[in-house]
Structures are given as structure tokens and as C-alpha cells.
């Protein structure tokens, strides 16, 4: 379910970004709305690809919240920068040393996700990403694949997986 959602989000985001680029080819240049599909498409694409990578058994579990939060922060940051009136002028109020819109971009988009996403990754690592048992299963599956190739070598026109450390197989994806 999560993967389908992620794929739909990715396709929609790619179409939105393509539309933003295409609009720049219109006579008279990019219209005023051109940055909006890009501003909304980028967060959708990034969240989509993260969900695609993190989904396990069709679910993202506790990661749903950090993903939603990060997507909203990115989209809201870009939207506010586009929608708020320009207030950059001498004597303008500063927020942590920057004019409002610049502060939203630098602190909101540049720093907020750092506080959330890498920590969410670390805290959910065992349940959502990888365990020692997963590594062992993969190692055994790789060994089974290698044995299968060796067994089929007599009937396969391609060279079998070589045993020597330095030899390079002629089968794509198989290494010495």
C-alpha cells in the first residue's frame, strides 16, 4: 500500500515538475504560476522516494509521521517564500539574523528536516530498516544463487561464477 502511494506521489511529482519546466517554453516566458508546481512537486518527489525506500511489507509504520512532517515543512517553506510579500529592505525586522522569507528557507528547509529525519531513521532502524537476521538471510540467499549458477554452468553458455578472488564473471551483477 505504501509503495503504491509512493509511486503515485513520484509520478504526480514528476509530472508537476515537468509542467513547471514546460511552462517556461510558453511565449512570453514562464508564467507567474510556474514555480508553484515545482514548489509542491519537489517535496512530493522527495517524500515519495523516501517512502518507496523505507516501506517494508507494504508499510512505513512509525515513519509516517516524520515523512508527513518533512513533506509539509518543505512545501510550506517554499509556499511561504513564494506567497509572502517581499520585506527585504534596510531596517527590516530580522529573525535569527535574517529577513523573514530568507529565515524560513534557511532555517525551515535547511535545518528543520535534519532534526527529524536522521533521528527517525536511527530510532526505527531495527523495526523498519535492517536486523542481523536480515543480513544473514541475504547472505544465505546469495550463496544459494551462486550454487545455482555453478550447477547450471554446464548448460549455460555464459561462464559460471568463478571461484578465484581476482576473476571477473561475465554474468551481469555477479562479482568475484
Amino acid at each position: 500500500m505504501a509503495k503504491r502511494f509512493a509511486l503515485a506521489l513520484l509520478v504526480a511529482a514528476a509530472l508537476a515538475i515537468a509542467a513547471a519546466y514546460a511552462s517556461a517554453f510558453l511565449p512570453g516566458g514562464a508564467p507567474r504560476w510556474a514555480p508553484w508546481p515545482m514548489a509542491l512537486g519537489i517535496p512530493a518527489a522527495l517524500v515519495g522516494v523516501m517512502v518507496l525506500g523505507a516501506a517494508r511489507d507494504g508499510r512505513v509504520g512509525r515513519l509516517a509521521l516524520p515523512f508527513a512532517f518533512s513533506g509539509l515543512v518543505l512545501a510550506a517553506g517554499f509556499a511561504l517564500a513564494l506567497a509572502l510579500p517581499a520585506d527585504e529592505a534596510a531596517g527590516a525586522p530580522l529573525y535569527l539574523g535574517l529577513p523573514l522569507r530568507a529565515a524560513i528557507i534557511l532555517y525551515g528547509i535547511g535545518l528543520f528536516p535534519i532534526v527529524v529525519l536522521p533521528i527517525a531513521y536511527a530510532l526505527t532502524f531495527s523495526e523498519q530498516t535492517l536486523t542481523a537476521a536480515d543480513v544473514e538471510r541475504v547472505r544465505l540467499a546469495g550463496e544459494a544463487w551462486a550454487r545455482g549458477r555453478a550447477a547450471n554452468a554446464s548448460t549455460d553458455p555464459r561462464p559460471a561464477r568463478p571461484a578465484a578472488e581476482e576473476a571477473v564473471p561475465a554474468v551481469p551483477g555477479a562479482s568475484a
Partner: protein, 492 residues
């Protein structure tokens, strides 16, 4: 530059290179097989891999070109580095686990290896190898040129000799110690870069009167500089974010390192550590860019003759000479580190991926890896020296070419069982064709995209759409193209 200052800078640079040589000698003694040479024997620890990865990510651009770009176009240049808040953890979720597990299952060594394993396709493996080779050629030539400029600035030997001295040192440790030497040189260099960056940022804040003082000075003279898009259009700034955000998933110098981690379970803390490291290193990028603009706006510094002079001018005027010397040496080492990393990946393509794609074997891969490393280094140095402005052209499309050829086939394909080899091949071919055609037309001024549209952004989004469309059209064949062990890697 006063003579005393110059001698301190030379002394620090010599000490820096001496340490690089010592690390290389140590690494050479530990490099015995092709796997040691290309993926450090899958045996690098978490901290070393993180620091090396930060070091390779930034290259000399973060210290010289980046601050110059901010000085020129304002905050719009920040959209190149802002995605770092997301890209490291995104790479961890999307690629790190799958690549490392593929390495565990099949002992893979290269990125095209992973594409070949995923789709059981020599053509996809070979085509991605060709794309990587073309992109690397440009990157290596531009970095060779940058080495020449920096070494000439430190030692005054002329740019031609600078290129060959820099390439010679890099070649020595690349040929002998392979990626193992590169990783530990990167660790040394990345640590110094982070420390130097923090110190330079502190100096900027002190000289400029804090961030509020810097902003106040800029707003009084050039308010548009601190608008959220700087002096470029919102579409152009967002396009930077898209290309450097999504495109990060296709950068071989970063993705390749996932193979090297000793214990896959150590990935847990990798994104957090790498993101924090990158922020430290990028403080200089932002700080010097806005700091120099503020000093020029306030009349405390004359306008720069060229944007790339922002960092050297600030360092020589406002920081202790030892700190300036460390940054100069760091820039030289950063370009060497980038060349080492790229040269190693390119050598793997030549000795490993292309023969595999053609159904051939390379008998002594370590020896051929060393030979091709030397040949590629000499070719890059010659290209840098002989081709003039063409080098800049070659360097421009490297990032974009990697992004549009590898993001769909590798990053999406390793996470979606519905992807097909036909989709992968079509997307790689689309990325190659669009990038090479339009970058060439742009270089010769035969055709230029409208404002806000970049070749890299357009080719990335097109290759993603082609990947989805062709995979959907050929979806009936998707399931049969995945080996059981690869399917397991994709499902855990």
C-alpha cells in the same frame, strides 16, 4: 601576499602532502586484491566512512566556487546545498541498505554491477557504465584544472606544472593504495576541512558583527541579495533544489561508498553523522559568501575582481595565516580527493563493467585496475591542459548526467519490483541523449533553454517519466527479471 605569509602557506601545504604520502604508504601495504582496491575490502568503519563521504561530497567547489556564487547571485546559490538537510537520510533509506546487502549477497564492487544484478541485463550494466565514464571524464578534467590553479597559487609553479604535480601526487596514492588510500586521506582531509570551516565561519561572524550585522549591511545596499531566491528566478532556484536533491541519489562517488561499510548494521547512525558533518563543512560556503558581500557593501573591502576570489581574499585579510594556509591546502586536497574517488570508479568501469557487459573476463583485475587508473589520470590531465574552455563545459554536465542516468534505474529500480530492464535502458538512454545533445547545443550557443530551465533538471524529470512509462508498457516481464536473492534484498 607578503613573503612571510607565503612561506607559512607553502610550509603547511608541504606538511599536508607529506601526511597524504604517509597514509598512502600504509594503505598500499593493505591493498592486495581487486576488492581491496575498488571497495576497500568491504571493511571501512562507520566514522571513517562518514568523514570520507562528507569530504568527497563537497570538493573544492564548497570552498572556492560556492562562496563566489553566493557573492554573485545571493541566497539563490544556497539551493545547491540546502537539500543536504534531506539527501543523506534519503540516500540511506533508498540506496544504502540495498547496495550494502547486494554487496553482501554477491560481493558486488561497482554501481553498474548493481544495475546488472537488478535487471539481469548486460546492456543496462554497460550503458550505465558508459554514462558514468562520460560524466567522470568531465569531472576529472575540471578537478585537474582546479588542482593546477590551487597548486600554482600556493607554489607559484604555473598552472601547467600545477596540473601535473597535483595529478602526480593523486596518481601515486590512487595507483598504489586504491580506494583504501583515498578513504583515509579523505578522513584526514575531511576532519581538517570541518575544523577550518567552523573557524572561518566564526571569523566571518566576528568581522561582520554577527549575522544580524551582516544582514543589516547587505540590506542597506542590496536588499535583493537576501530575498529567498537571491538574484535568480524562483523557478531557477527551485530547479537547483530538485537537481541537487533528487539528483544526489545518482552520484556514484557517494553511492559507491555504501559497498564499503564493514557492518551493514552500522548504517543506523550514518545519515545523522554525515548530515552533521556536512553542515559543519558548509558553514564556510554560506559564511564567506554573505560575509564578503557584507564587507564589500559596507566599504570595508573593495569589490572582487572575480567571484572566485571571495574565499582567498577574505582569508588573507581577516584570518590568521595558519588558518588561511589550512584552507588553501584543504582545497588542493579536496580536488585530489575528488579525482581519486572518480578515477577509482572510472577504472572499475573500464576493467570490470564494460568487459562484463561484453561477456568477457579480466584475468588480473587488480593489475588492470592500477594500469587503467594511471591511463585515466594522464588522459584527464592532458584534457585539462589542452582543451581550454571545453573543460568547463565537460564539468557542467557531470552531476546532471549521473542524476538522469542513475536515479531512475538504480534508486527507483532497486525499490520497485515493477521496474523492467526495458524501462531502465530507455531511461539511461534518454538521460544520455538529452544531456549530451542540449549541453552541446548550449555550449556552442546554438540553442539555449528559457530562464529557469536547466538541462540537468529537464533531463532528470524526463528520464524518470520515461522509466515509469516504459516499465508500465513492459510490465508483463517485470517479475521474471529479478533473481531470488535480489528480490530478497529489495524486500527487506
Amino acid at each position: 601576499m607578503p613573503a612571510a605569509q607565503h612561506w607559512v602557506i607553502i610550509a603547511v601545504a608541504i606538511a599536508y602532502f607529506a601526511i597524504v604520502v604517509l597514509i598512502s604508504v600504509w594503505a598500499t601495504r593493505r591493498t592486495r586484491t581487486a576488492r581491496d582496491f575498488f571497495v576497500a575490502g568491504h571493511g571501512i568503519g562507520l566514522v571513517a566512512l562518514t568523514v570520507a563521504s562528507v569530504s568527497t561530497s563537497v570538493s573544492g567547489f564548497a570552498f572556492i566556487g560556492g562562496p563566489g556564487l553566493i557573492y554573485t547571485i545571493g541566497l539563490g546559490a544556497m539551493y545547491i546545498v540546502l537539500p543536504a538537510s534531506v539527501t543523506n537520510v534519503m540516500g540511506a533509506w533508498v540506496l544504502a541498505k540495498r547496495m550494502r546487502l547486494l554487496g553482501e549477497a554477491r560481493k558486488l564492487m561497482t554501481i553498474p554491477d548493481a544495475i546488472g544484478a537488478r535487471y539481469r541485463s548486460p546492456l543496462a550494466q554497460g550503458l550505465s557504465g558508459v554514462a558514468i565514464l562520460i560524466g567522470i571524464l568531465g569531472y576529472m578534467a575540471t578537478n585537474a584544472l582546479a588542482m593546477g590553479v590551487v597548486i600554482d597559487a600556493i607554489f607559484g609553479v604555473g598552472m601547467g606544472w600545477g596540473i601535473w604535480i597535483g595529478m602526480g601526487v593523486t596518481l601515486a596514492y590512487s595507483v598504489a593504495g586504491g580506494i583504501l588510500a583515498g578513504i583515509y586521506v579523505d578522513v584526514f582531509q575531511g576532519t581538517l576541512m570541518a575544523a577550518a570551516s567552523v573557524l572561518v565561519f566564526a571569523a566571518v561572524l566576528k568581522v561582520g558583527g554577527g549575522l544580524a550585522g551582516i544582514s543589516g549591511s547587505i540590506l542597506a545596499h542590496d536588499p535583493g541579495f537576501l530575498s529567498p531566491w537571491g538574484k535568480i528566478t524562483p523557478l531557477a532556484a527551485l530547479s537547483f533544489f530538485f537537481v541537487f536533491g533528487m539528483g544526489s541519489l545518482g552520484q556514484p562517488q557517494g553511492v559507491h561508498k555504501y559497498y564499503m561499510l564493514k557492518d551493514p548494521l552500522q548504517l543506523r547512525w550514518y545519515p545523522l553523522l554525515k548530515t552533521l558533518g556536512l553542515i559543519l563543512v558548509l558553514l564556510l560556503y554560506f559564511g564567506v559568501g554573505v560575509g564578503v558581500k557584507s564587507l564589500v557593501a559596507g566599504g570595508r573591502m573593495p569589490p572582487l575582481a572575480a567571484p572566485d576570489a571571495a574565499t582567498p581574499t577574505f582569508l588573507l585579510r581577516f584570518t590568521p595565516v595558519v588558518l588561511a594556509a589550512l584552507v588553501f591546502s584543504g582545497v588542493a586536497a579536496a580536488t585530489m580527493s575528488a579525482v581519486n574517488s572518480f578515477i577509482n570508479i572510472a577504472a572499475a568501469v573500464v576493467t570490470h563493467d564494460l568487459p562484463v557487459a561484453l561477456g568477457r573476463k579480466t584475468k588480473n583485475e587488480l593489475a588492470w585496475g592500477r594500469i587503467s587508473t594511471a591511463v585515466l589520470a594522464v588522459a584527464a590531465a592532458l584534457l585539462a591542459q589542452l582543451s581550454g574552455t571545453m573543460v568547463a563545459f565537460l564539468g557542467i554536465f557531470g552531476w546532471g548526467l549521473f542524476a538522469c542516468t542513475l536515479v531512475p534505474a538504480l534508486a527507483i529500480g532497486l525499490n520497485w519490483e515493477g521496474a523492467t530492464k526495458e524501462g531502465a535502458i530507455a531511461s539511461i538512454a534518454t538521460g544520455l541523449a538529452v544531456t549530451l545533445t542540449f549541453e552541446t547545443l548550449n555550449y556552442f550557443k546554438a540553442y539555449t533553454f528559457p530562464t529557469g530551465v536547466t538541462v540537468s533538471g529537464l533531463s532528470l524529470v524526463l528520464s524518470i517519466l520515461v522509466f515509469f512509462a516504459v516499465s508500465w508498457l513492459t510490465r508483463a516481464r517485470a517479475a521474471e527479471q529479478i533473481d531470488p536473492d535480489v528480490r530478497l534484498v529489495m524486500s527487506v
